[in-house]
């Protein structure tokens, strides 16, 4: 399945609905793992659409799903300005009162925790995020 969504925030819900429907149709993931994938897709699409906004581009964001032999794969590609994973700020520990100053920055940690594998490829021409969920009830 492949779709190109307009880089507008209201389309994040459509992307996660279509990906979760595709995952359900393949019957290779239990329901709770589809819920995990939905959140990861939402986070990745949010970042992609915001990257397009920051780069002031009207291009669409590509979302592609495929069911491989032993895993389900979702690719989200944007044409934003890219980012350096190594330069993402660390948050203070949750018990530190300063932690409440950070309302953002939880998306990538959530993606990493919720999917079985994730690959980020980013350059000045855009970012691709590949989310992988192993078939069955594989736990993280």
């Amino acid at each position: 399945m492949e779709l190109e969504i307009p880089a507008r925030l209201e389309f994040v819900a459509l992307a996660r609905l279509l990906v979760s429907s595709f995952a359900a149709s393949t019957a290779v993931l239990p329901e709770d793992r589809i819920d995990d994938l939905k959140i990861a897709v939402s986070e990745a699409c949010t970042n992609a659409i915001e990257a397009h906004g920051a780069a002031d581009t009207a291009e669409r964001v590509l979302v592609r799903c495929r069911d491989a032999d032993e895993h389900l794969e979702v690719l989200i590609e944007d044409r934003g300005a890219g980012f350096d994973l190594a330069k993402l700020p660390d948050h203070p520990p949750v018990t530190d009162p300063e932690r409440l100053n950070f309302e953002r920055g939880l998306g990538i940690p959530l993606i990493r925790a919720l999917v079985d594998d994730v690959e980020f490829s980013s350059s000045s021409e855009g970012t691709a995020v590949k989310l992988v969920m192993h078939h069955g009830d594989a736990d993280n």
Partner: protein, 111 residues
Amino acid sequence: MDLGLDVTEREGWAILAVRGEVDVYTAPRFRERLIELVSQGHHRILVDLEGVDFLDSTGLGVLVGGLKRVRSHDGELALVCTQRRILKVFEITGLTKVFSIHETVDDALAA
């Protein structure tokens, strides 16, 4: 996409019942409602997440911002949530240590 944000008051608490999906598109309305409550003098806010079908990091960010605002007035922001899929995002991010999370509104008010 509809987001329900209904407020009732009980025992000195403003209870904000959220319904629907909380993501980057709907979160601004949620944030504005919390800011409005605080500016109206409600510094003890209970956010009932039982009607929430989906919540991602944007929703978590709104709750973190709300907690910061009520604490600046020596207030409290507690949550009602029993849904496993919603609780999971609080557990992964460690925010279960930041928020007081209850099973029912009555439990929260009695705490």
